[in-house]
Amino acid sequence: MVYIHSWQEYQDAAEALYSKSPNDARYVVKWKASEGKLVLKITDNTTCIKFKTYSSIFLNRFEALNLSLMQKMQNRHREELPVPAPD
């Protein structure tokens, strides 16, 4: 299990890993209240990357990463579907 120390690196690696295997990858968040520790793990059962922190400055970035990963999971197409031509 690899801990990554820089947030930017972790974010890039997480998105790359998810794009590589969207059906196998899972994103796990562990919150340890007694210690005030937040650990993020993303794995596709072959490679695993983790990020841990005790500081609150990452919260906004963490939420943005959550959103982007969940959007990838849903694979939502943002463009409007073409309207069928009326006959």
Partner: protein, 165 residues
């Protein structure tokens, strides 16, 4: 494992965060299981990727609580607004980065760097009164050389890894 709808999920998650005893695990994954035996997944890397999937979220506290929810594609924005603010509001015990620790860390790093780059002078006498001092200086020079070599190897490995990726 209880499957609940999104709002109940958020409520139960709020309760879990408030109990603050132990840990909380949140798992997010794409939902490719279609109920019975037919799984709607396709091979990773196939170009036909136009399906939309619901998102599966599971929560556990390691002991008794275990529940999950499906988030449909259309509901993600609304759900995430509530979900994100819930997470941000509950994780308040994370330390706000204080200047003191940052300064300490920066000073330690600067000190370490100095020790590695400044040349160690071996100027004590070889025999007689200051011999021990000279031996310590020679040992420091060797240690510095070792650490510089390790640093170089690490840099090379990193460059090589970057080239591969």
């Amino acid at each position: 494992m209880q499957l609940v709808d999104n709002n109940t999920f958020l409520e139960q998650l709020t309760v879990l965060f408030e109990s603050t005893k132990g840990s909380i695990w949140l798992t997010h994954k794409r939902l490719t299981y279609d109920g019975e035996d037919a799984t709607m997944k396709h091979e990773n890397g196939s170009s036909e990727d136009s399906r939309e999937y619901p998102c599966l979220l599971r929560v556990t506290d390691g002991e008794k609580a275990k529940f999950s929810t499906h988030v449909e594609a259309g509901q993600l924005d609304k759900f995430h607004a509530a979900y994100g603010s819930l997470l941000k509001a509950s994780m308040t015990t994370l330390r706000k980065r204080d200047k003191k620790r940052e300064k300490q860390r920066a000073e330690q790093a600067a000190r370490r760097k100095k020790k590695m780059t400044e040349p160690v002078a071996v100027d004590a006498p070889k025999r007689g009164n200051g011999r021990r001092r000279r031996q310590r200086q020679v040992k420091a020079v060797l240690k510095q050389q070792g650490s510089q070599k390790k640093l170089k190897e690490r840099e090379e490995a990193r460059i090589k890894a970057e080239v591969v990726i």
